[in-house]
Symmetry: C2
């Protein structure tokens, strides 16, 4: 079995704190790299500077997904968009957000940055509904509802099923015409001009596994989430609190690390990344210990972390 | 002559870059400390985090002055105000800005942070006019017009004339009644019950000098500014460019370091602090050399710099 280049699908954590920037964490922001394209999830204040620090190029950013309209998830947007315009970014940039977000940010941008070098589009996400918000040739992004104090969406990045790999030498041996190659990569057998059937597995090796990543923040513990993100390679689930604040978590529609781990376990996730940490903690050692007791393949987010999806190793 | 406690009037530089945050500079933000109260001038993205880093307490911040409505001077405001509310800041916070700024930011705050623990007030600055925007018992803040691409205001922080210092031993010797002390501190002689006139300078030592600070950013070189800021102890004047970009400076309504120094020299300023540096430079050595050739008492701003006003020494 061949291995694909693992670095074509990466996750960059730019901010994994909650509520306000602190000396330890920045507010929510992540950048998914997929085959050289950058897609941002949430855009807390400071996102643009974090992109620079991480060496992520503004010119490659074409999509921004906003989970919900709390300031710590989107107040970095006006500054980032203004900077993109000053940098003469071209093409289209699409912000995926709820209707009120589209209206608010479009108003802010018309005020602060009316002349833009790029085409700023808003793709309206409907709250409370699972839907495909982006459909690229080899990847889809779906939004799905999370249970928070306000309308909130999670995002599922899923590679499309991949084609089998053609064995070049065998294809040449059987004189497979170019017109047949797509069908063969999709699993068809090949019939030679004199009627001989060549079984597909003589001509191809299996397709790489399609990888996936799910972002669940902010949300109260919701057992039904496991179905939505079933089998995902990497699950980011908020873990604002540790067990000591379980009640506060419920009251504020946030989760504990144990609850995040329960979702990961029930979903059969490949790995769990916890984040969105409350400023009330001095470190996340409790969160990690409590999550690992339930789901051992748990990692703690931190600003600057870059992970390959699926993770090469834990 | 007695010396007042010099640390009662300080300037903190939180951001001295221009246009966008960079790896070297943050966008415009300063905090004036006056007798324990904090007043912010401009509020570029990241201002709230810089306050934390500088150890400046949110609870002491009661006034924010916005020079103009370019994003690099005010896009940190929504995040800062949201954080103040989350921190349960009490009292009143006044944002001094032009009418459109008041409307825009009040709309943003109603969207992101409708329930506030403090009273958010907007004090509308009229563009193109010199005016007192804040009148405290011992300090006034005036705004004055700057020449930029959009309406822009500079700010002059000026201590009110101070009272003379009473010599306690002499006051006791002459049995000066409490009711007379204010008049004597203001310069009056004292007449004893039997008609003897005690000259004021036997009872008092001279008042401390009233200190002042002027903020001029953003502005094209404007020779008439020297009159507005005449005799100021510390002048912050933008120096976006060095002489190599003098033409660009004029075209964009910015200044060079030499022009900033010319204003400082013509105004007879005590010292000049240059800032608002373009990201096109790797350091500000050219700016400094060119400014000092015209006005030797020039300093270069940098994030984290804290200066006493007037400067104790250069």
């Amino acid at each position: 079995m061949r291995y694909r280049n693992m670095s074509e699908f990466n996750l960059n954590i730019l901010g994994c704190g909650s509520a306000t920037p602190s000396l330890r964490h920045l507010p929510a922001c992540q950048v998914v790299e997929y085959r050289g394209n950058l897609m941002m999830i949430d855009c807390g204040e400071g996102a643009q500077l974090s992109m620079r620090k991480a060496g992520l190029k503004f010119s490659r950013l074409n999509h921004i997904f906003i989970s919900h309209l709390h300031g710590d998830h989107c107040l970095g947007l006006p500054g980032l968009l203004s900077t993109l315009a000053l940098h003469q970014k071209g093409g289209t940039l699409t912000v995926h957000t709820f209707a009120e977000g589209a209206e608010m940010f479009s108003g802010i941008m018309d005020f602060f940055c009316r002349e833009r070098s790029f085409d700023l589009q808003f793709n309206v996400i409907e709250p409370g509904k699972r839907q495909t918000v982006l459909d690229l040739p080899s990847l889809t992004v779906e939004s799905f509802p999370l249970r928070h104090r306000v309308a909130c969406a999670g995002f599922l990045f899923k590679e499309k099923p991949k084609m089998r790999h053609l064995k070049g030498d065998m294809a040449r041996f059987y004189n497979v015409p170019v017109s047949q190659i797509k069908a063969i990569k999709e699993g068809a057998d090949f019939v030679t001009p004199d009627g001989e059937v060549i079984a597909n597995d003589r001509l191809t090796t299996p397709a790489d596994r399609a990888a996936s990543y799910a972002y669940c923040s902010d949300t109260v513990y919701d057992r039904s989430l496991a179905d939505v993100v079933r089998g995902v390679d990497l699950l980011y689930h908020e873990a604002t609190y540790a067990d000591d604040c379980a009640q506060k978590a419920r009251a504020r529609f946030h989760s504990t690390a144990s609850e995040a781990a329960t979702v990961a376990r029930d979903a059969g996730a490949g790995a769990l990344l916890i984040g969105h940490f409350s400023n009330a903690y001095n470190d996340e050692s409790r969160h990690l210990a409590e999550a690992r007791a339930i789901f051992p393949d748990t990692l703690v987010a931190r600003e600057g972390l870059r992970l390959e999806i699926p993770l090469k190793q834990l």
